[in-house]
């Protein structure tokens, strides 16, 4: 089955939203721990991060949010954040406390593959990543590999990046782990197209936007529409 990962920014509504996303068919959830200067993020997630910080979503509060979410859903939960947060909290302590709160793994958007080798995390590879580094990422990654499908920041785009196919080929040659494609994937059509190449998709900006503007029910519908597209793609392949 194609995997569907949904990104939500940590906040007071996150447990409820997480439940809705899972009811809609999400297989795993990434929980954004906001950072003041998120280099990998486009405007939607950057703004969501600003709102979260204004609501007091500092690291301890985010960990509480993670634990509250854990009590509501049983899919893997993966905090996604930036090095500065771990630096301040302590890398080891962060890993321990996140695991304690129910985290399954971790994503750090600005820790390249060779940095902090002791921090077990989902590694990201990009269209610019050469084969040798993709192999290293495959060796070090935790469970699956995050394919950044385009050169750019997070955010919806008109089309699935033409760079994704080549990246999938390089990643397949490097690892047998599942490959999930994210960045720029927002519609059911995108989902189907990206999943025809990769083993699953990550949606972030659009999910954050739907959740913020229209709430849990709308998020569940949106996720269900992606789920349906992925299931159709799955059968088309089979």
């Amino acid at each position: 089955m194609k995997k569907l990962s949904v990104y939500l920014m940590a906040g007071p509504d996150t447990p409820e939203l997480a439940e809705a996303a899972v009811a809609g068919g999400a297989d795993l959830l990434e929980i954004g721990f906001p950072f003041s200067d998120p280099l990998a993020d486009g405007p939607v997630i950057r703004l969501a991060g600003e709102r979260a910080l204004a609501q007091g979503m500092r690291t301890k509060e985010c960990l509480r949010c993670l634990a509250d979410t854990r009590r509501r859903v049983d899919v893997p939960l993966i905090p996604m954040t930036y090095a500065s947060i771990l630096e301040a909290y302590g890398y080891e302590r962060f890993q321990e406390d996140a695991a304690q709160a129910g985290a399954t793994s971790l994503i750090v958007a600005d820790l390249p593959i060779e940095a902090a080798p002791d921090v077990k995390r989902v590694q990201l590879v990009a269209p610019t990543t050469p084969a040798e580094r993709v192999r290293l990422a495959g060796e070090r990654t935790d469970g699956w590999l995050y394919l950044v499908s385009l050169t750019g920041t997070t955010g919806a785009r008109a089309e699935v990046s033409a760079q994704l196919a080549g990246l999938v080929d390089r990643a397949r040659a490097a690892t047998e782990l599942p490959l999930l494609a994210g960045f720029g994937i927002s519609t059911p059509e995108h989902a189907a197209e990206a999943a025809s190449l990769a083993d699953g998709i990550v949606v972030g900006s659009r999910a954050v936007e739907v959740a913020y503007e229209n709430g849990a029910e709308a998020l569940q519908e949106y996720v269900a529409s992606l789920r349906a597209a992925l299931d159709v793609a799955e059968h088309a392949v089979a």
């Binding site: 600003e50 990009a126 610019t128 050169t151």
Partner: protein, 375 residues
């Protein structure tokens, strides 16, 4: 493993904390720079541009009326083409960009001096130039915005967050992530991911090399202290580079009191490097506050954090008021209008207990007239 961890680090600072998309571009830049930096053809071309285009060597001037007791020398980077030391770095990086086959340049700017330098060299080398600038800085540094436009650059206002250099830098990096295959990021200070701190230091070290020769020629001795302002820290690191091995020479970097990343900061990660930052206990970056747009930055180059920890350099602060007083004093006593940034260095230099003092006068003050006159 050891090489992976230590490459690009100054002690515990520096490194590469960037999205994976940029790592291959940083590798390419590092390779390109190490290939050309000692290449005779490159050195010759850079030397010719420094002489005929930038206006090097810049004079070393003894400010006799500024302080009649101490012997205070000013390294006149304000006399460089475009009015500040930023051009030293921009010229060198333009040559690197050309070597790497990149035809588009992105840059960030605070006071506008680096933006003007980037726009200038892009005009000179026929490169497309996009400069990100905080909307608040565009207000307070209007003449530099006009200059960049005249030079053919596109200035993109950054309307969110602090609307200053911090956000402009983030946006320039995001642009680079998006256009990495065609674009060179011309960073303006000795900050950012490896190899930028080293690249910028190498290109600015011409200041220190010249100054060391000049002060020995003037005084037949080394100075007691070398003083420069520190925002990101590029003019300071360039000047210090000439004196790092002279253990008896005090190195003094002067920060703005409201942007003292070294004086009051903590270790953290910003804009691709680990350094000393203004950040809270959760690692969220704090706002900096300075009358001087060029110092209004919550981070600093990693080598400065290392020099501080090693005890090799000291980093006191100067307040807005102290900088303004030094600004007026230099204008009235010497007929030199400094930028507000080096006015911070002047303010601390004048109360140093030292006989021979070398001060980096990193830029001229035309851009600051509106700010100063409105006080």
């Amino acid at each position: 493993m050891a090489t992976e961890l230590t490459r690009g680090f100054y002690g515990a600072y520096g490194g590469r904390y960037v999205p994976e998309t940029l790592v291959p571009a940083l590798d390419e830049l590092e390779r390109g720079w190490s290939e050309i930096k000692d290449d005779p053809g490159f050195r010759l071309e850079l030397a010719r541009l420094q002489a005929a285009y930038v206006g090097r060597p810049t004079p070393l001037y003894r400010a006799e009326r500024l302080d009649e007791e101490k012997r205070v020398y000013l390294k006149r980077e304000d006399l460089c083409h475009t009015g500040a030391h930023k051009i030293n770095n921009a010229v060198g990086q333009a040559l690197v960009a050309r070597r790497l086959g990149k035809e588009r340049i992105v840059a960030e700017t605070g006071a506008g001096q680096h933006g003007v330098a980037a726009a200038t060299v892009c005009a000179r080398f026929g490169l497309e130039c996009v400069v990100y600038m905080g909307a608040e800085d565009m207000q307070r540094q209007r003449p530099n915005v006009e200059r960049m436009h005249l030079l053919g650059a596109e200035v993109r206002p950054v309307e969110f967050g602090t609307k200053t250099l911090k956000e402009a830098t983030s946006e320039a990096i995001r642009d680079w992530i998006t256009n990495v295959e065609t674009t060179h990021y011309m960073i303006g200070s000795c900050v950012g991911p490896h190899p930028y701190p080293e690249l910028v230091r190498d290109l600015q070290s011409v200041i220190g090399r010249e100054a060391r020769e000049q002060i020995i020629a003037a005084e037949s001795r080394l100075p007691d202290a070398v003083v420069a302002c520190v925002g990101g820290g590029s003019n300071a690191i360039g000047l210090f580079a000439g004196f790092l091995d002279d253990a008896d020479v005090r190195l003094v970097g002067v920060e703005a009191a409201g942007a003292a990343s070294l004086g009051t900061g903590r270790a953290g990660v910003l804009h691709g490097a680990r350094s000393s930052l203004l950040a809270d206990e959760d690692g969220q970056i704090a706002d900096a506050h300075s009358i001087s747009a060029g110092l209004d930055y919550p981070g600093v180059g990693p080598e400065h954090a290392f020099l501080r920890d090693e005890g090799r350099a000291e980093y006191p602060a100067a307040t807005d008021e102290e900088a303004l007083a030094a600004f007026h004093l230099l204008a009235e006593r010497e007929g030199i209008i400094p930028a507000l940034e080096p006015a911070h260095a002047l303010a601390r230099a004048l109360d140093l207990d030292a006989e021979v003092i070398l001060v980096g006068l990193s830029g001229r003050g035309d851009k600051d007239l509106a700010t100063v006159l409105s006080r």
